[in-house]
Symmetry: D2
Subunit: 362 residues, 4 copies
């Protein structure tokens, strides 16, 4: 009843869900020179094999506090085709129009959906998706490239296509060499691919995290438990499509996957510094206390690093989201006047299996 005849309704409710934004949105601080934008560049609607009308994707993004989304219907796989006839740009058009009042940036994309190799890839920042509907996959990539799309390899470790291990194929080398691959999904939905993280570091590719959502988002993500969709943090000069593109081209991203932030060390170091600040240091002969505040909605898991034997402190420590902690370090030798409390932030992943090395100094 509610949705019916809204334009004619005596009492048209436009509920913007402002309140819900507060609940579902996750505070992640900006960097000095860049805004931290929350983006999801991979999703589907009924126009390919998704299960919701395109406007739902905008509503979901809005209520989760996302800054930008890309719609990436499959070019080659459209199981609802019998009932839905439309060209490859159609769901973007519906979303674009609807998003005007929601302050969500919508980016046109398409998923080039092929067997391995090369598997599935998203081309985003397209101007027209239709030319990607080609027989040979190479032509599809060329069509995307000729539109100056940003192209990334999707779920490289998907076991339906890579049942034994996450391999890089010669076809990927070819795409990479031909300027047809600028990024890789380091995480997709419930899965994280450490091999992809290493490839991004080695080959200077942009790290991407996406939801690849097909269902209504609440079916997969339990917001009530504090869960969030897998997404890309984009460190952008401005909150515009152009700003996002410039950041992607310059590899200023990180992947937000469960309670992990995965990315290049420089961005993670700055992000940790903006999140966790030392408010005060209390020192006496026996101990030093660091009063630290976590301004973000992220938890940080600390693990003791190599350290001066005179500093006696935690083995592991969790800095909870939006909290204030007093961390005490006992001094083995009363004469100590300065030192470094070294630790690894294990959930800020800078390479496979390795967290960010940090320290509190006094």
């Amino acid at each position: 009843m509610k949705k019916l005849f809204l334009s004619l309704a005596l009492c048209g409710i436009v509920q913007m869900g402002f309140g819900q934004v507060v609940d579902k949105s996750i505070d992640i601080p900006d960097l000095d020179k860049y805004q931290t934008l929350k983006c999801d560049f991979h999703m589907h609607t009924v126009f390919s094999d998704g299960l919701v009308w395109p406007t739902v994707r905008v509503d979901e993004a809005y209520s989760e506090g996302l800054d930008a989304i890309a719609i990436t219907e499959h070019i080659e796989y459209r199981p609802h085709k019998k009932d839905i006839q439309a060209d490859h740009n159609r769901s973007y058009e519906i979303m674009k129009d609807y998003a005007k009042n929601k302050d969500v940036i919508v980016i046109k994309g398409s998923e080039i959906t092929r067997p391995m190799a090369p598997g599935h890839h998203n081309a985003i920042f397209l101007t027209d998706s239709n030319p990607l509907d080609t027989k040979d996959y190479k032509d599809a990539f060329q069509a995307a490239k000729s539109q100056e799309a940003f192209i990334f390899w999707n779920h490289p470790g998907w076991d339906s296509q890579q049942p034994e291990e996450t391999k890089w194929w010669k076809e990927h080398t070819e795409l990479y060499n031909n300027g047809c691959m600028q990024g890789i999904e380091v995480a997709n939905g419930e899965h994280y691919y450490p091999e992809a993280l290493q490839w991004c570091l080695d080959k200077k590719l942009t790290m991407i995290g996406t939801s690849d959502i097909h269902q209504p988002i609440q079916t997969n993500i339990d917001f009530n438990k504090g869960e969030h969709r897998t997404m890309t943090l984009v460190f952008a000069k401005e909150r515009t499509p152009e700003g996002i593109r410039e950041a992607l081209d310059n590899r200023r991203t990180a992947v937000f996957f469960k309670d992990m932030i995965i990315g290049e060390e420089q961005w993670l170091r700055e992000l940790f510094g903006k999140s966790v600040t030392i408010e005060k240091i209390n020192k006496n002969e026996k101990r030093v206390q660091f009063v630290v505040r976590n301004n973000s909605d992220l938890p940080f898991y600390l693990k003791k690093g190599e350290h001066d034997a005179n500093l006696i402190y935690f083995r592991t420590y969790t800095i909870e989201p939006k909290s204030k902690h007093t961390i005490t370090v006992k001094l083995g030798d009363a004469g100590i006047t300065s030192g470094k409390v070294n630790f690894e932030v294990t959930n800020m992943v800078v390479k496979p299996g390795k967290g960010l090395d940090c320290q509190f100094s006094f």
Copy 2:
């Protein structure tokens, strides 16, 4: 990614959400001769003005533990028509096929969607929805009637069509007299219409409660808060389409709306008796204790009724869902050996503003 190529997938996940059924399903006891079926006879998909693919409605119903749903797309209002070409039976067909593995009964219906009077009506148990697409509303009702549909008036107090009060129009008398109205929605989504309850009692019409859901269900219903969709409880001889129809024809229904059960006194009395049982009565000179158990997921709100001045007991009392309570009644006169503790169950509504009168006897 998950939904893609499932039939070809190496590892096809068919997650039946068994666990979720337990969480979202609401225990309401059967009656002596009838099963209590949870049914929702009013909903939409992308095939009219809803926002999900038809299969989503089956998944939702399954995970909420519903026994049956009717799909009731608007005949006259199809805002996605530009993109979705299909006849009026199509969403039913998709759901019917998908529901086989889910043990959810799917009933074919359509919403005859007209200005007031007569407003909107659902015809369910149709064999073919297409003949209802007529110019004159009377022809649509006749088409439904000729298929032996069960027809009910939707949201009679919807303020877009009845801005001042919930009125019965001469058109409704005509439909009623012509055998084109067998029931009325006493509750629709967030709204309850007491006038409709009275009309059902007076005119021997079947009481219906529906969700009228357009969005993904989680957008409107917060299951995490224990909320449920508005639904019809059908007291059926058997859990089949025929069993449901027989019960509707004989007005064996109640409406489950928020924490209220609305219906004819005979069904509510039996439902209360099946839900709340007295396990033990402890009596001494000073007081009587009733040890009562609520076997259902429904709360019951008790309000003191007229009573013997020698019985001193609660003014209001809440029997929580799935709980055991010891209710103490003080005896003003030590000589009392029997009595009646009268109360009204205020959330079992038997007519507008009136709850079910009950008693515990000792």
Copy 3:
């Protein structure tokens, strides 16, 4: 383990639960000249018949964003006396000390716990609770009065003491006349007493709402469902004990009970105006649209009032917390250029059964 030897611990965690404050705290706007303070003036610990150590009450208050609490142990009822020997000031002392780092105001009180009449009363802003331990209840009230306490009648409709109806006894008249009653609990825990609301209006008594919590607060309140404890909103010139007292003395309070705000019309009107603001009015020949924003965490339930027949609008309408709505009013006569959309805010209760009358003008 966590709580043990904290002062000696190598790593003393002082987790202030900053993040939780955001979740549990409820935004209610300030008034023009007064801050809106969230206060709970009735609670217990193990020092009377409560079940938690006094510091827990401070932690709970802090994490719910309360500004002030009063501790009000029973003077006459101390079932843990065998194990806990302490004078009547002791739990206050523990809380006072602990609250320093939490920015929660703690007020010393005691519950004078007598059979009806006069039943239970809280005396708060005491300097010493011990003199209230007297044989005759009148002496206890005099002891409180001589300390310039603020005294209010607790749960006047508690059916253990008033099994048939909420009566005012001659003992209450006497207390009132003797300056021993300045307020009444209009709501206590799960119960609201409309009679008490009327008495407060008639006799110029201060309206109080309290939790009367005995258990760990999460046992009774499900914060996850958005529930909150029953509390008093105090409209104070400053956030200090003195500021609160001055406001209580001048009856600048409202009671926050479930989704109701109960209070004098002047405070509720201003509170509604601060919460719901009209951002824009769009008018054309056929309709007026009010774009309204609700800046608070309170919902507001609107019900149509008496109105110009040319204005066609909602019968009931819910303004959700923290949301933006477009409310459309259809114009019956195209010539209308101004008007008043009248409604009652049914959950802002200004007298028993009556909500606040408001209007949107254009």
Copy 4:
């Protein structure tokens, strides 16, 4: 108000929270010869440094569906001593009495609370806690031993006592050799100690998991997110104190910590087999499908093991709680008629870093 004068109350509510048990209790299947009992052998109340009255621990256990709890106040550390004078058996007595109506087994224990070495130990199944209050720790252990207590080392890796690593001291060898150590906490609250797991395997010690709760339980555990307290699963011949003791003495336990079950391979293998059953195997030339049902509330995380190259299947797979899954294995060679799908259940930990090896055969 609610807790006051319950025995005199006109209306005494004994709310057993039946419904809540369903919500918070976690289904874990019994084994062939043993019942699976959920037990927590480490907790505190206001009688040592905890923050709740003893009865609260019984209520919590009941509503979480625990079978047994041990109360283990610190002997040496009683910060509330100024206000609470009682001997070391007192909180047990209060709980024992209260638990009669709740069907929770309460076991008397005490925490011998010493600096490292030997650190903290719990002695449970005591008959009298008072004799453990000695100057020399060895005397305390002897007092416990002479009462035939079951003694286990608490939080062996607590960084306040073991800041650099989880070490076994000569004092522990001595206790072990003297029959004063029968078990070790492999997990305590938020922490898991892999070293302790290895020690239990090597030295035939019983594995224990405990909450060590001091706060109201909801402060530390968010049941709404599906969290549970750390506990010991006891595989007992009967649900009695004696049955529990016999199982502890014979090392029939596992530790339930977050989403991990830690224990000896034999118990974990049987537990997996009782939880996950194969309902049907569908085989054709191209693939085998295993229809599996998880009857428990535990998730199981599967990781591919070494396997026949002709079997092509998942790399990782999650079997959700209370769910039904169809797991498809593609056959590389059409001639295969039988095989073994090997995998490791990574969250059933049989030694540090190693999950349970299992297989589905066809």
